[in-house]
Symmetry: C2
Subunit: 228 residues, 2 copies
């Protein structure tokens, strides 16, 4: 039985521990211990802990986004000159991610941690790899929803990405809040729920909330204003 290379073993251990214990609570010693490698191997292969994290992300995010665009392209060809239905495009965007979740459950919890820290260096490679996906899907949604203006469509893509990310990274919270009823166990069911929600959100009519005095916050409840 041939051993996996040290580099791969470190990547696998890092992905698992980053997801399970969190980025900040996982030390390089934890990782090398689990991977049967020496402390300095991380520095040799990845330069630093952050460099390791960067490769943990890249090795999965690149094929993920390639697959999303491949499916979108397939759909565009199938529909020819007709606009791709919103649900079909959403499936191309969401299905590869949930497939990845069931194949590598740890990975998407790592990405959740990165995405929530926008000034982080690692976050920037994230955005970089997502740029093409964002543009491609925005274009398709614009064709399928000609009555929704450009800026609104981009906001709604943002909202649905949030729904998606939250679903993977945080389902344990939902499971607890729902008293065990809502579990992320069925791949197809989850994707259908997400598509239903997001498709309706994308098509939604504009809304303007009325100004009612009765909903105003009483003065005594005011919180201190913070600058800087």
């Amino acid at each position: 039985m041939k051993e996996a290379k040290t580099k791969e073993r470190i990547l696998d251990s890092a992905e698992k521990l980053f997801a399970k214990k969190g980025l900040k609570h996982t030390s390089v010693r934890d990782i090398t211990g689990e991977a049967n490698a020496h402390l300095a191997a991380v520095n040799y292969h990845f330069r630093s802990k952050d460099g390791l994290l960067r490769e943990v992300v890249q090795r999965r995010i690149v094929p993920l986004n390639r697959e999303r665009l491949r499916l979108l392209d397939n759909a565009a060809k199938r529909y020819g000159k007709k606009a791709v239905p919103v649900e079909t495009a959403l499936h191309a965007l969401l299905a590869p991610a949930i497939k990845l979740y069931f194949e590598s459950p740890h990975f998407l919890r790592v990405t959740g941690q990165i995405v929530s820290d926008p000034d982080d260096e690692v976050y920037k490679i994230f955005l970089l790899h997502f740029q093409d996906v964002f543009s491609g899907f925005k274009e398709v949604f614009t064709e399928s929803l000609p009555h929704i203006e450009d800026e609104e469509i981009m906001w709604r893509i943002h909202f649905l990405m949030g729904a998606m990310i939250h679903t993977w990274t945080n389902h344990s919270g939902l499971e607890r809040l729902s008293g065990g009823v809502c579990k992320l166990s069925d791949e197809e069911e989850t994707i259908n729920r997400l598509i239903a929600f997001c498709a309706a959100g994308l098509r939604a009519p504009k809304y303007n909330h009325p100004h009612e005095d009765s909903t105003e916050v009483p003065e005594k409840e005011k919180r201190s204003i913070q600058k800087d």
Copy 2:
């Protein structure tokens, strides 16, 4: 000019730096340096760095959730026996958060980092404080949307919380992806966009994605299956 108490100064500095530099890249020395306090003051007032983080969260999350339930209660009284419209309930859920964003822009970026690490101890107080909000709003949505089954409503609350959290924590990413078009600058505009999206998502009809062979992933693109 009376100086603010050391404890308050530390909390403010911690909130700011946790948001700007991220939890993992902010040291206690950074915080005490900014707050003109001494290293050991953190340990004295908060027991540990995590204890400090816990109080950074609690001092804002408690009034936030109280305000959400107050607004929901107001709405319920206003509508009496009639069901509260989905948009009105959503406003009660979302508006206090975005108000908080504009008052204390750093805070919600801190929460984003905590929420994305579900095994963290700090995350658990988060869930604890959210339990009542979740139950209260679930009940109202169930009355307003009698044709949607219970489990589906809970999933959809999960989705819309994701859209909301992503909006605050990650708008800088959207700003970049949209080429500067989408900015989180107008409080009312943003809340109206979110309500439109989420209300439609809550009302959405069920969806079942068809199984089409042409969308299958080719074998050569397979990724390694990961256990454990």
